[in-house]
Every structure is written in structure tokens, then in C-alpha cells.
């Protein structure tokens, strides 16, 4: 789809696409939640941008406001709960100020990959139906059969084996990893320019996590989609991001390129976070020249 974005520099500092405006431009975003126990400021004035083809990660411990940020961008926080101020321009339209803009970008310019794949799909509708809905929203002219063909193609793209059979399956018949892939397929159905991935792997076990992340990166390579990644796992952040913003209590405490943040954290909070990751210690493959051998193994293998 977006060919022009393929030329993104691998240099993490460059975050502006060739046309000069970032895809996502967040300024002074502040989210206040009106709860029963008073007003909670979940996001406290953050600024960041995501350029085309870039991966930007928000990292921080549970409850620091990562998901709230993502939801606020898409105006998905219930009106009765959140008061959002500041601005968030997606492809030039401010979704904070303009509900219509938010509606227009949802499912078209931006897609969300939700935090918990197990609860993100309606349990009483088939996967095919939910994927088909997403496709037909993007391409209203498509008939049922065409949408199905396209959906099956998408499922194949996210490495779901036997997509024809699975089209009629219900979410509970899938494993967590597969569901996450379905959700990615649904997100891709929108042919988005920006993917908001809210902890796409924390509900999954480590082995499945690798597959999902791999898939996301593969997609980015192929389509040049920009990704706003949200995670509390430094390992994940390190491996997929161009830039990382470390979040604490609704504010950024540290921002920088992925290697900077992980290899040389400046803030004690970041260092704490890093220290909490249980060390695995060295192993025999560390001594080897690198994972080149692994990279040569066939990439597309049915998983799940």
C-alpha cells in the first residue's frame, strides 16, 4: 500500500516522513478520569509524534496511563468517564477536538490491536463475520463473498493455517496467539497508516509473543505501516522500537531511541524497570556470531 514510506531511515532519531508532517502528532495530551473517588489524571500532558513507517513505544509499569493514552487518541474512552484535552492529530485531523474526525479515522487510517486478545472479540459471532465487517467498512462496495475472499487472504497473511475452515470458527476455538493474529488481521483490514498496538503480547506466553512480534515487524517491512507500541516489557520495547518513551504516572520520564534507553538509561525509574527483568544469563548461542543461522530458517510457518 504505502510505497513512499519504505525509505524510512533506520536511524531512530528521524521520525518525520518525507512529506514533512508526522502521521501522529500528540501535543499536551491530558486525560482526566472522573471516577467515583474523585478525578484521576491518568495522562498528564504528553507530547510525542509517530512518523510513517516508524515504531514508537510507550513503556511503563502497570497503571501509568499507557492504554489511556491509546484510547484517548481514538476517542474510545467513554464520554462519561474521560475529559481529554490537548491535541492529537492523526493524518492532520485532530481527534481530540473533533469526534467526527475520530470516527472517520477509526478503521480507516488507524487500527487498534487491543491489550487482551481473549476478550477483544465478540464471543458469539464468528471470526469471519467480525473480520468481514471490518473489511466491508473499509470497502463498502464489496459483497459478502468478496469480503470473505479478502478476509481469508488477510488471515493467510497473518499466518493462520486453514483460513477457509477458520473463517466460520468462533473466538473461543482459537488459542490466544491465534486470536492475536486474527486481531492483527482485523486491524490490517482497515489498511491503516497507523497501528496502535496496546500490549499486543503481554497476555500471551513468551513463545507466542515472539511470533506475534515477528509478524508485526514483517508487516511493517512489507507495508510501511507506522506502529504505536505499548508495553511494559523492556525486552519487547528494545526489539521492536525506533524510539521509546518511558512513562510514569501519566508523564514521560525519559525518551530516546531504543538502544539509548535500554543500554544507557538515564533515569533511575528506567533503571529500576530494567533491573526487575529477571536475568536469564548467558547461553551457548551468545557465543556464536549471531542469529544469522536462525534468520535463514523458513519464515512462514503455520503457527498455533
Amino acid at each position: 500500500m504505502k510505497d513512499g514510506t519504505q525509505d524510512i531511515a533506520k536511524d531512530g532519531t528521524q521520525h518525520v516522513a518525507t512529506d514533512g508532517t508526522p502521521l501522529l502528532d500528540v501535543r499536551e495530551l491530558q486525560v482526566e478520569l472522573v471516577t467515583e473517588h474523585g478525578i484521576v489524571r491518568a495522562v498528564d500532558g504528553i507530547d510525542f509524534t509517530v512518523g510513517r513507517g516508524e515504531t514508537v513505544t510507550l513503556i511503563g509499569e502497570s497503571g501509568c496511563g499507557k492504554s489511556t493514552t491509546a484510547m484517548a487518541l481514538l476517542r474510545l474512552l467513554p464520554d462519561g468517564l474521560a475529559v481529554v484535552s490537548g491535541s492529537a492529530r492523526i493524518a492532520g485531523r485532530d481527534t481530540v477536538a473533533d469526534l467526527a474526525a475520530a470516527r472517520a479515522v477509526r478503521g480507516r487510517t488507524v487500527s487498534l490491536i487491543p491489550q487482551d486478545p481473549m476478550t477483544a472479540l465478540s464471543p458469539v459471532h464468528t471470526v469471519g463475520r467480525q473480520l468481514g465487517d471490518a473489511i466491508r467498512l473499509r470497502h463498502p462496495a464489496l459483497g459478502r463473498a468478496e469480503a470473505r475472499a479478502r478476509g481469508i487472504e488477510l488471515m493467510r497473511q497473518v499466518h493462520i493455517a486453514e483460513p477457509e475452515r477458520r473463517w466460520k470458527a468462533y473466538p473461543h476455538e482459537f488459542s490466544g496467539g491465534m486470536l492475536q493474529r486474527v486481531l492483527i488481521a482485523i486491524a490490517l483490514a482497515a489498511e491503516p497508516e497507523l497501528l496502535v498496538a496496546d500490549e499486543p503480547t503481554s497476555a500471551l506466553d513468551a513463545t507466542v509473543q515472539a511470533g506475534v512480534l515477528d509478524l508485526l515487524m514483517e508487516l511493517q517491512e512489507r507495508t510501511g505501516v507506522a506502529i504505536l507500541m505499548i508495553t511494559h516489557d523492556l525486552g519487547v520495547a528494545r526489539i521492536v522500537s525506533d524510539r521509546i518513551h518511558v512513562m510514569k504516572d501519566g508523564r514521560f520520564v525519559e525518551s530516546g531511541s531504543a538502544p539509548e534507553i535500554v543500554d544507557a538509561p538515564a533515569e533511575p525509574y528506567t533503571r529500576d524497570l530494567l533491573a526487575s527483568v529477571p536475568a536469564l544469563g548467558p547461553w551457548d548461542e551468545d557465543k556464536q556470531p549471531g542469529p544469522d543461522s536462525a534468520a535463514s530458517t523458513p519464515k512462514v510457518i503455520p503457527h498455533g
Binding site: M71, L74, L76, P78, R103, R106, G107, R108, S111, L112, P114, Q115, D116, T119, A120, L121, S122, P123, V124, H125, Q130, D133, A134, L137, R138, Y170, H172, E173, L183, I186, A187, A189, A190
Partner: protein, 309 residues
């Protein structure tokens, strides 16, 4: 699945059988004498004895029960004392009315209470929702007799647009239907509200919204689809209960349903008629519940038959 069905059917048949046995015993243990209810108050003791003999009530209880079962197996539900015709026929004369009223009342309930519940879920905690809530509760808590007669007076006398009683035309169905439905509105709309509130707050709704699904589809497809099981359970239970008839409403609207029939049969101690009515309506009600059970897997693919959720 077939084994499950067979087992459920077997259990249901057993339930009907035990139910019937209980009724058989209870009506005979309760004070009152079918012969006395049948005969004129001036009837002589001798005559009463003859009548009891004619009804077969002079035999030991166990023998009566045996005969009853034997006849039952051969499809004979006995002859009604007061109608002097096969009890089965008497019930069948009335059953269509009961089913008509039950179906239409449930249909109206669903058509009104579901949208109302959805509306309440979306307007949760507003003053208007509170108003609707109070209104439905009040409707439910006024005696049904009162509701019926008020509707009658309103729509058959003050603004005479509907017939007052009986089922002489389809218009005659309107008022009894509304009266029965009013009793269910509060319950069903509150259930829908509760379910919809949960479903609308569920992650899959938010996620669906995030991919641009229209609000209307969110509500009617996603949220309602996920509320189907409890809704169908509640509606199915109500429907099953309505198949026993709604005595007061039947009386008020001169609706010849089985509810007033069974009460009348009790007043005349018409044992065969009581037993036939119970057998037929209980079988129907149990069948409805079985169907509802069988429906679950279609409404929610996670439910597997024979497994408690």
C-alpha cells in the same frame, strides 16, 4: 448430543410423571368430594355413593392410580366430570387460546421491553431512565386485575376501539396481551438493561468501535447478541409459565384459556380434567424449557450441551 437429548428427554418425562403423580395424590388428599360437587346439594347419600362408583372413586387409591396409568398409556386421559366429555378434548378446546395469548404477550414483551432495556442501558442513571424504571415497576406491582379492568374501561368504554372480552376478533387479543405484557416489562427490561450495560462496557465492544463499527450495529448486533442467552432464558421461562394460563387475566377478559379451566376444574374437583390439564400444560412447559436449553449452543457457541456453563 443425541445421548444428551435422550437423557434430557428421559428426565423430562420423569419430571412430568412425578408431577402428575403429585397432582394425582394432592387432589385426592385435599378436602372436597367430586361427587358432592357434581351432584345437586339435595342429592342423597346413596346417590353420592353411586356417583363415586360411577367415577371409580370408591376403589383404593392405589388401584385408582393404576387404572389412571393404564389409561394414560393407552392415550386415554379420562372423561371430565363436569364437561361430560373426554378431558383431553376439553383442554384442547382451550389450549389454542392460551397459546395464542402466551405467544402474543411474549412477542409484545420482547418488542417493547428489549428496546426499552437498551434505551435504559444507554441512558443509564439519567432521570428519564429512573422514570421509566419506576413506571415499569409500578405497572408490574399494580394488581393485574386492576390493570385489566382499567384497560377495559379505557379502551372499550371511554374510547371504544377494542372489544372488551373474549376472542371474537383479533382485536380481542390486544387488551389481554397488554395486561400480561405489563407484568413482564419491568423484569425483562431490567434484565436487558443489566446485560446491555455489561456488554456495552465489554472490551469487544470498544474494540469493535475502534475498528469503525457503527454505533447501531454495536448495540443491536454485538451487545444484544451477547445478551441473548440470559434474555432467551428469561423469556423462555416466562413463556413456559404463561402456558399454564393466567387466571386473573383470563377471567377479566373472558379469555377461555386453560388457567381458569384448571381453577374451575379444581372448584368442581374434576380430577380427570385437572390431571389432563396438568399433563398437557406441564408437558408443553417442559418442552419449551428443553427447547430453550437446546437453543443455547446456537446463541452462544461456547455453551456445550450437557455441560453446566
Amino acid at each position: 448430543m443425541p445421548t444428551y437429548l435422550l437423557r434430557r428427554l428421559g428426565q423430562s418425562v420423569l419430571t412430568v410423571f412425578l408431577t402428575l403423580t403429585a397432582v394425582f395424590l394432592l387432589v385426592r388428599l385435599a378436602p372436597g368430594d367430586p361427587a358432592a360437587a357434581y351432584a345437586a346439594p339435595t342429592a342423597s347419600a346413596e346417590e353420592l355413593v353411586r356417583i363415586r362408583g360411577q367415577f371409580g372413586l370408591d376403589r383404593p387409591l392405589l388401584v385408582q392410580y393404576g387404572i389412571y396409568l393404564r389409561d394414560l398409556v393407552s392415550g386415554d386421559l379420562g372423561t371430565s366430570y363436569s364437561f361430560h366429555s373426554p378431558a383431553f378434548d376439553v383442554v384442547m378446546d382451550r389450549l389454542p387460546y392460551t397459546i395464542t395469548l402466551a405467544v402474543s404477550a411474549i412477542a409484545v414483551t420482547v418488542l417493547v421491553a428489549v428496546p426499552l432495556g437498551v434505551w435504559m442501558a444507554r441512558r443509564a442513571d439519567t432521570r428519564r431512565e429512573l422514570g421509566a424504571n419506576i413506571l415499569t415497576i409500578t405497572g408490574q406491582s399494580m394488581p393485574d386485575f386492576w390493570t385489566g379492568v382499567m384497560l377495559l374501561t379505557g379502551f372499550a368504554v371511554v374510547i371504544p376501539v377494542l372489544p372488551a372480552s373474549g376472542f371474537t376478533s383479533w382485536g380481542g387479543l390486544v387488551l389481554p396481551t397488554i395486561t400480561v405484557a405489563i407484568l413482564q416489562f419491568a423484569l425483562v427490561s431490567r434484565l436487558v438493561r443489566r446485560e446491555m450495560t455489561t456488554a456495552l462496557a465489554a472490551p469487544y465492544t470498544t474494540v469493535a468501535r475502534s475498528r469503525g463499527v457503527a454505533e447501531r450495529a454495536l448495540v443491536w448486533r454485538y451487545a444484544l447478541g451477547n445478551s441473548a442467552v440470559p434474555l432467551v432464558t428469561a423469556v423462555g421461562t416466562r413463556f413456559a409459565a404463561l402456558l399454564n394460563g393466567v387466571v386473573v387475566v383470563e377471567v377479566v377478559f373472558a379469555w377461555p384459556g386453560v388457567g381458569s379451566l384448571v381453577v374451575r376444574a379444581l372448584e368442581t374437583r374434576d380430577y380427570p380434567l385437572i390431571q389432563a390439564t396438568v399433563l398437557i400444560t406441564a408437558s408443553l412447559a417442559i418442552l419449551v424449557q428443553l427447547l430453550v436449553d437446546l437453543l443455547y449452543p446456537l446463541l452462544d457457541p461456547r455453551v456445550r450441551l450437557g455441560k453446566a456453563a
